[in-house]
Each structure stands twice: as C-alpha cells, then as structure tokens.
Amino acid sequence: MPDPILSLKKLDAFYGDFQALYGVDMEMAEGEVIAIIGANGAGKSTLLRSISGLMSNESDQVNFLGKGIGAHRADEIAALGLALVPEGRQLFPSLSVEENLLIGGRLNRKGPWDLQSVFDLFPVLKERRAYPSTALSGGQQQMVAIGRALMANPDLILFDEISLGLAPVIIKSIYDALPGIVGDGMSAIIVEQDISKALSVSDRVYCLMEGRVTLKGAADSISREAISHAYFGID
C-alpha cells in the first residue's frame, strides 16, 4: 500500500467516564472509499468526531497526510484538507443556503469545487440559494451540508449518515451524486446504517460494535453472514 492518507492507531475516545472507542486501528489509502457500518451507539459518529478534531486525542493516534493531528484543533485539521458532513446536517440557521456554502469555501483551498460546481451537482440549491437554510426540506438541507463540505475542496471527506431520515428517492439521488464526488481522487469515509447502500459505494468496509472494530474487508468479497455476526455479535 502507498503512503496512507489516514491512519488511526489505537484510537480511544471518551465522553466523561464513558469510553466510546477502544483502540481502533485503521489504514486508508489515497483515493479509497471506506464504509463504516455498525448498530446505533456503536461509536461511528464518535470515530468521525475524533478524526475531524471535534474530540481531541493524543497526537499520534490520528495521522493525516503524514502528520499526527490527534491533538490538533478542528479548524487546523479543516485547513489541512479534511471535511466532515455531520450527522443531522447541522447547517447554520442564520445563514442563507448560499452563505452556508460560501462559509464552507472560506478556506480557499484549490480544487474543482466552487459555488458553480456545487450548483451543477445539486441544481435545486441554485433556485433556493437566497432562502434561509431552515426553509429547505431535509433532503435539500443534506445537499447543502454535502456542498458545504465540498466547497473546502478537501482531500478526505467524511459523511455521517447522509441518508438518515430521507425518502428513498432522495437517498438514491444523493448516492447517485457520490461517484461524481469521489470519482476524481477524493478519499471518503462513509458512515451508514444501510449496509447494502454502504457496500455499493465503497472499496472496503469496517464494522464497529460497542467501540471496537469487529470486521474489516473488501466490500465486494465480504459475506453477509460475517457482517451480521460483526454487526450484532450473534452467530
């Protein structure tokens, strides 16, 4: 494997006294798309929060582009080229659709994504650009959240349950847009409850259960039985 874009070494995470991650190891090659699956409360969001710097760790527990970033602040990590599409979208309510996108692009990193290309990807956002972000449907808000992260032209983008609470047809249109996003070399981690959706877009899968990695493997060769075993801990 060439130099990994991201590697995690024995990553732990805590909420007060409660330990949410136990020694998670992970390696990711540049351009790879990794799916992370697991039941509710398995620690998937916690993992993404740790990587993106919203939860702080020891420096060498998270390594991004050859730098130990475990102890960096989230804004420093963002500037290095890592973006998160947070669970539940989390748009800025007092900003319009366009302003939400612009603030995603304020780091001014070079790359293919700008207001125009995001509007090309999700044309409906162009019509609604002046609306408050709260005046959009759930699916449209999710598009804004994805666009906002893309505007930073990240090298690695993390998606946390982008299909949560959306109608199947919207989910389909968002997943149809994914290859266009990760197609040109961007690496991605996709957290998803829907296993078949996750497998369909990813190269490799990690399964988390109660804060530990219980399974990993190539998306096209992993068996259903192995997944349900790793997912629920039952035989």
């Binding site: 710097g53 919203l54 804004d75 800025f92 007092s94 603030i103």
Partner: protein
C-alpha cells in the same frame, strides 16, 4: 452605542460582560489622558482610543475570557465581575475619585435651530455617530464574510470550527470590535457629562435595559431601546429631577410587561 457593544458580545459569544460599564469609563479616562498629554480635541482622540480599546478587547478575550467560556455561564460572569472591581480600583488609584470631564470647547454648547426647535450639536452628533456605527455593524454582520463567520460561530461553534474558523480568534475579534464601539461611546460620554471611577455600573444597567428592550442581539432594536430610555429619562427629569433615573427604569419595566421578548426580537442575526 454602548449597549450595542454589549449586544454584540452577547450575540456572538453568549457572554454577559459585567465589566462593560467600566470599559466605557476606561475609554473616557484614556481619552482624558490623550487629550491632556497631546492637547488634541477630544473627538480626535478617538483615533487613538478606539484602536487601543479594540486591541485591549482582543487580547483580553484571547488571554482571559476564552478560558472561561464553556457550557456554564457562571465563570465568565465571575471573571468579568472581578475585572470590573479591578478596573474601578485602578481608576481610583490612577485618576482619583473626583469627577472629571473632557473639554470639547464650543462644540458642547453650540446648537442649531430646526423649525423653531433648538437642538444641541453634540446630541445630534452623538445620534448621528450612533446611527453610522450601528449601520456599519449591521453591514459588517450581514454583508461581509467576516459577519458571515460571526453568525456561523454564534449559531454552532463546533461546526464553525469544521469550516476552519478558530472560535477563539473570532471571539477575540468580536470583543475587539465591541470595545472599539464602546470607546466611541466612552469619549462622547466624557464630553457630555462628568464621570468618576464608579460611573460604569449605572451605565451597565442602562445598557442591559436598552439591549433587552430592543430584543436580544438586534442592533437597531438596541438603538431604539436606548432612545426610549433616553426619552423617558428626559421626560422624567422635566417632572422632577429626582425622577430622571427612575423613569428610565419604569419605561424598561413597562416594555417588559407588554413585550417580554423585547420590541424587536432577534430576526435572523
């Protein structure tokens, strides 16, 4: 205008600054010192005092106040309260307890006649500056990328960090701008009336009242709140000088009773 600073700090950082009244007095004393040592006109002293106060605000926020911000609102309250006490004692030590005042020469008494009404230049100027300052703040907030960043941080600090915004820096900037605005208010105050080391506390109460009447976080509302209080005080003073302060408070209570959310509740800012 003083209240606008207070409103700004609360709006962006959810920080209640007990020492804010003392910063207005600090600006007035700084103005006094500048005027005394250079002999320049008090209004010109703004050029020095505003950036000085802005810098004080930024470093105060980065150095001390950021440490206190968290889910709990008590620590910043205590720290700014302590700051207030410290500042008042410094004023006492540095400038004595005597009331002092800046001399702006003819400007203080000059007046113009509009439709038979005689209006003082100074109050007009104060009002004009207040409008310009609030209009610029409003513009900064809603039409610039800095303002966009302030609103994002105010909405959701964590997610704003993900956009590459360092919230500590943003808070520092907000405090710097707030104290810069306060400096303008402080100089104008020092020209209009005399002040002493404890003058800040009374201003703080009126500042809060103006902010609350206007609706939290709404700058134009804050200006309107300030005008309502000012008018109430003037009317009160006409009835009986002793009523001046009281009538301001009464106006505040009446507004609260009628519209507890403030006259102009926060719309989108």
């Amino acid at each position: 205008m003083f209240a606008a600073g207070l409103s700004l700090i609360f709006g962006v950082m959810r920080l209640v600054n007990i020492a804010h009244g003392d910063f207005i007095v600090l600006s007035a004393y700084l103005g006094l010192t500048v005027v005394a040592s250079t002999g320049m006109h008090p209004l010109l002293a703004l050029i020095i005092v505003v950036p000085t106060m802005a810098a004080i605000g930024y470093f105060l926020q980065r150095g001390i106040l950021n440490q206190t911000l968290g889910d709990d609102i008590l620590p910043p309250l205590l720290v700014t309260f302590g700051l207030s006490v410290i500042l008042q004692n410094l004023f006492l030590a540095g400038y004595s307890a005597d009331p002092q005042k800046m001399d702006a020469g003819a400007l203080e008494t000059a007046s113009v006649s509009v439709a038979g009404l005689s209006l003082g230049i100074l109050p007009l100027l104060t009002f004009g500056i207040a409008i310009v300052v609030i209009a610029s703040l409003q513009y900064m907030f809603f039409c610039t990328s800095l303002g966009r960043a302030f609103r994002a941080v105010s909405d959701n600090q964590d997610i704003a960090q993900l956009m590459g915004l360092n919230k500590r820096h943003m808070f520092g900037l907000a405090m710097g701008i707030a104290l810069g605005v306060t400096a303008i208010a402080g100089i104008l105050l020092g020209i209009r009336t005399s002040f002493d080391p404890t003058a800040g506390s009374a201003r703080l109460i009126f500042g809060f009242e103006a902010v609350i009447i206007g609706g939290l976080g709404n700058l134009w509302g804050t200006l309107a709140g300030g005008i309502i209080l000012g008018v109430a005080q003037t009317i009160g003073a006409k009835i009986d000088p002793g009523w001046q302060l009281l009538s301001g408070h009464i106006a505040f209570l009446i507004v609260l009773a009628i519209r507890p959310q403030g006259l102009f509740p926060r719309v989108s800012g």
